[in-house]
């Protein structure tokens, strides 16, 4: 078990390194550099002294060969130092850490809603013996997956803020302010959970062991929840792990639509300003959250399914 965790952490470090390297190369390849962007933003006339720009580039190290820049930055990044943001001059790490709690709250609430709504929909849709209800419920997830997040957000704001005045339309104030953005973010996520869970519930209900359960005299609800659901939850759990990445990405749109502070807003701003150190910090941070969640998911598998043995040596051969 311990060896497994150590191995997985090593893998996670590899993923983070790859995320850093790829983002570095992509950002290096893109035309323009932050100094030009910064100068363009700072000066109204557009006339900048090339010598000053060169001095700035030298200060930030943008004039060094790519490989030297890469190793220098990587060395610092390993120690948690992603440099200073170009636009404000604050350390990247502290900007991210300041923005993190709001985003964690938002994505956490969205994930909870997604699991409850999506899971609930899947359970009810597969349990009901009313054909029309089942068809109606099962047609919702494809809809939820296909509508754009910002549109759902705007619709919810229109209905619940402007018309009904139930929830604020923007801002970071308390739980009431959290409801609409979390719901917006939960719609596509919950829809995917519902799709996977409903499918695997139907598969599980078709297995021989559910017949054994029925033959014991178990009622439908018992068969559904005690026998089928636990078996069906594994594929859904895998999806949840993957959806965390989508939630973080979705927070960019949702935080913008609802004018909330957080990692998503920071990302949007950093990209607009071509703030390369900040963008890099965001990429590595996102990768970190994603990798950590999936490690937790992998460690949860054996608790749900005893057949999955967490072992360091998976090359076991079967006779």
């Amino acid at each position: 078990m311990r060896r497994y965790v150590v191995k997985r952490v090593a893998q996670a470090v590899g993923v983070l390194w790859a995320a850093y390297t790829v983002s570095f190369l992509v950002l290096d390849y893109l035309p323009g550099d932050p100094v030009t962007a910064m100068a363009g933003a700072g000066m109204d006339s557009g006339q900048v002294d090339p010598a000053q720009l060169a001095a700035l580039r030298h200060e930030y190290g943008f004039d060094k060969p790519v490989l030297v820049q890469y190793t220098e930055y990587l060395g610092r990044a390993v120690r948690g130092d992603f440099g200073d943001t170009v636009s404000t001059g604050r350390p990247v790490t502290s900007v991210l850490i300041d923005a993190l709690p709001q985003t964690l709250l938002l994505t956490g609430a969205a994930l909870l809603l997604a699991v409850l709504l999506g899971g609930g929909l899947a359970v009810v849709a597969t349990y009901t013996s009313q054909r029309w209800l089942r068809q109606l419920l099962l047609s919702q997830p494809p809809l939820g997956v296909s509508v754009p997040t910002f549109w759902v957000g705007l619709l919810l704001v229109e209905a619940f803020s402007f018309r009904l005045h139930w929830f604020p339309a923007f801002g970071n104030d308390g739980l009431r302010g959290l409801v609409l953005p979390a719901l917006t973010l939960a719609v596509p996520t919950g829809a995917q959970i519902a799709q996977v869970l409903a499918k695997s519930l139907l598969t599980a209900l078709d297995q021989a062991y559910t017949e054994t359960a029925r033959a014991k005299g178990a009622g439908r609800w018992r068969v559904h929840l005690r026998h089928a659901l636990r078996n069906a939850s594994l594929p859904a759990l895998t999806v949840v792990g993957l959806l965390v990445g989508q939630l973080i990405a979705g927070s960019v749109v949702v935080e913008t639509v609802f004018s909330r502070d957080g990692l998503g807003r920071v990302t949007a701003a950093a990209v607009t300003a071509q703030d390369i150190p900040l963008v890099q910090g965001v990429v590595v941070f996102g990768a970190l959250i994603f990798v950590a969640t999936n490690l937790v998911v992998d460690l949860l598998y054996p608790l749900l399914d005893p057949r999955i043995v967490v072992a360091s040596d998976r090359r076991a051969s079967f006779a």
Partner: protein, 562 residues
Amino acid sequence: MTDERENGDDVTTPLLEIRGLSVSYRTRRGTVPALRGVDLDVWPGQVTAVVGESGSGKSTTAHAVTRLLAANGAIDAGTVRFGRHDLVTLSEAELRTVRGAQIGLVPQDPTVSLNPVKRIGDQVAEVLRIHGLATRRSAATEAAAVLDRAGLPDAAVRARQYPHELSGGMRQRALIAIAIAAQPQLIIADEPTSALDVTVQRVILDHLQHLTEESGTAILLVTHDLGVAADRAQRLVVMSQGKVVEAGETRAILDDPRHEYTRRLLAGAPSLTAARPRASVSAAQADAPPLIEARNLVKEFRLPRAGGETRTLRAVDDVSLTLRRGQTLALVGESGSGKSTTARLVLRLADTTSGRVLFDGTDVTTAKGAQARQLRRRAQLVYQNPYASLDPRFSIGEVITEPLRAFKVGDRASRLARARDLLDRVALPASTLERRPAELSGGQRQRVAIARALALSPDVVVCDEPVSALDVSVQAQVIDLLAELQADTGVAYLFISHDLAVVRRLAHQVAVMRAGRIVEMGPPEDLFTEARHAYTRELIAAIPGGRHPSPAAADRPPAQRA
């Protein structure tokens, strides 16, 4: 039809009385009737066997009793009287008090019939809890006690394990424990052992019989194996195409089958027709040149590490064998005995740990690349499951010509001509070429698989349990076909089977394997009459149909029936 005999019995009323039962399944193509007016009685304390081929409705009958039909199945007419109730008209809630408590079910496939994420003990305890026969506290201990009664060794330990940690036989015992836990009056056993090895089969059936005799529980035994039915049941019900064609005392039906279908079923059962000559099998020629010679083959697998030390499993242990041209060598043994691995080594589908394989005089032990490819061309395979071994997207023509295309033999027209010729040889009409595997029956599919194996005119065909997934009457046809093809083409077979009765009809030489070793080898007639090794005798004794239940067994010497 059998009333006189029933009146002769000292039991006055049947425990279960099915009258005019009709069941149909709704499919995309419309409503398909599965049962048409089935009448069936099960008497208290007796074993009643329902036999028939797949599709005969025997399994549907068993499931219709407690209305455990698939979601698209519906009972259209008839009554199922059990005690004072008609189970057809009972409400779902009332029915739940019958299921598990008064009627237990032993399902077909123990490997998939237990919930994989729940402990064995909890699954047994669930029956007791549902029917209020145990409290939350006492359920665990009582479950262990029931498992013990079902013959599971170390029941208390096993109760805390999960299904995947138990063998197939042990899982079936756990399922039997679930069925008997509430001490029901009737147990419905749907092909309870067909997924198990023969030797395990016998032990399980013995135990089930013993348990029910003790408690006076009746059994409705559904089986495709007439041998099993003949051994266990006092009464026999023969079904075909959703109807009961014959019913009565087992002995009476076996000795004097009235219905033509019953006669065909009896003729097809390999275990009951051991005396039948190996019809067209060519005579064994001891001087035929050897085609495959294996010398001292060893195959070891690494096991998952436990406690730091590396353990290995010796799946094949010092196996030597010779397959002569145009002959059949059968490898017989239980699952895990190493017979399939041996075949894989011989075909170079797996690497040997040590030992040598000679193919037609050439050492192919470490053959790679072109040499291995040549070997593939001369040695082909027929797999166990014809439902899985044919690509569902290919037409039958494409399936059969695929080996020809792979080895770039001939052009399009000549390949098609070859496919037509092969179909003719396996007794399928040429129109089959255009069809898809899904449109064919299991037996037809296996014929296609055989045609595909013969496409390249190989020297040897390895048949891995080629008939065990097929109905008995179809089994006989396929075996006859294999024998005929051998006589015509001179192909040699390496025939893998767990079923000695099947092997007996085809093989020139039989090698009995156990735990990776060949324990005995010889012509089948010698093995059957004077088996030297205790394990061979055990295998022979385990063939169903070797005995009859009740006093009748005495008047037939077991050796002849074996």
